[in-house]
């Protein structure tokens, strides 16, 4: 199980930021990590890593215009990213979403972990991203709409024959937060980590540098490091 979808069912819970930061932490620990920005209509990994005009992209591969090796960008010796396009003409092309599975299979051979940043919602692009992964990591905020979204993502994963790898609760610290132990009960999933709401996340997005690099001592950075440690123990098969 070395290809994981970071998925939510509901948009805006912070899964892309989490995906980028987890990738950085795990790669800094020596794991070979590849992030695939599979949020076809809302690619943000380029923005998060400061590569907004990355080219060629996943969209070029899915439309048959680029080979897999052309779209994998090595940021460090252990971290690679397949960026998505933010260009309207790329979004309007006909994309073969089934090629996503071919790509992740290839990437798994050269990575300890492939992290797939899923689109929000439950449409075909999300289903293709889940099918291309070995398991699904649920990301949610500690509120009811987010719980419903995570439950729907669990249903989608089950129907696709994929396991869920647990849940991550993002943006905690509000007065009306649902406690993690209650979330575990209603979701029927282990909460692998909670990440505090942190205004520095926004600064890191503006800077184009993931939080764990731009503000390594920030509370949310420390939470993400703890989560990365648990995930590494749980998910990564050493090669």
């Amino acid at each position: 199980m070395s290809c994981i979808s970071i998925a939510s069912g509901k948009g805006g819970v912070g899964k892309s930021v989490l995906c980028a930061n987890l990738g950085v932490v795990l790669s800094e620990r020596g794991y070979r990590v590849t992030i695939v920005d599979a949020d076809i209509e809302g690619s943000t990994q380029g923005l998060l890593f400061g590569y907004e005009d990355a080219h060629p992209t996943l969209h070029d591969f899915l439309s048959g215009r680029a080979a897999p090796e052309e779209i994998v960008r090595s940021l460090t010796p252990t971290l690679s990213v397949v960026f998505g396009s933010v260009q309207l003409n790329a979004l309007l092309r006909e994309l073969d979403l089934e090629r996503l599975g071919q790509l992740t299979s290839l990437l798994e051979r050269s990575s300890d972990l492939v992290l797939v940043d899923c689109p929000p919602g439950l449409e075909e692009d999300t289903r293709a991203a889940v099918r291309a992964s070995g398991a699904v990591l649920l990301v949610l905020n500690p509120d009811i709409p987010s719980v419903a979204g995570a439950l729907k993502m669990k249903i989608l994963a089950r129907k696709a024959g994929k396991q869920t790898a647990g849940a991550v609760v993002n943006r905690v610290g509000g007065e009306y937060d649902i406690p993690a132990e209650e979330l575990e009960t209603i979701l029927g999933e282990k909460v692998l980590g909670t990440i505090r709401e942190d205004p520095l996340v926004r600064s890191s997005v503006v800077e184009g540098t993931p939080l764990v690099s731009s503000h390594p001592e920030a509370p949310a950075s420390n939470d993400i490091k703890r989560l990365a440690h648990r995930l590494a123990e749980k998910l990564i098969q050493h090669k």
């Binding site: 509120d143 719980v147 419903a148 729907k152 669990k154 249903i155 209650e182």
Partner: protein
């Protein structure tokens, strides 16, 4: 208020929550629940799903659509444990929480007290 057509559940929850200092009103069907809610104005309604007459889903929807009762916290309590059932309760019926039977009594009582103290807000 506990709404369930199973007498055993009503007795169990009345004893369990009553022993922790809560006043527990027990009701056997949806129509009676709506009538009693107007009189008693409960802080929390625990609703079974599978009941004769109005189902828990229908009753929850009525509670959440009425201006008099929509601010009351409603938690479903059901043996239906599929994720699909939970989504239906939380999204379609507007429930605030979902408990699955059978319950661990101590854990359940703690969760009920959390709901009473700090009912979840929607977004």
């Amino acid at each position: 208020m506990v709404v369930d057509d199973e007498e055993d559940i009503l007795i169990l929850l009345k004893r369990l929550l009553g022993s922790r200092g809560h006043r527990v009103i027990t009701v056997r069907d949806g129509r009676e629940a709506l009538r009693r809610m107007k009189e008693e104005k409960p802080d929390l309604v625990l609703l079974d799903i599978m009941m004769p007459g109005l189902s828990g889903y229908q009753l929850c929807k009525i509670i959440k659509q009425s201006s008099d009762t929509r601010s009351t916290t409603v938690a479903m309590l059901s043996a239906k444990s599929m994720d699909e059932d939970k989504v239906r309760a939380l999204e379609d019926s507007g429930a605030d929480w979902y408990f699955t039977k059978p319950i661990d009594t101590r854990r359940f009582a703690e969760s009920v007290e959390w709901l009473l103290r700090n009912p979840p807000k929607r977004g």
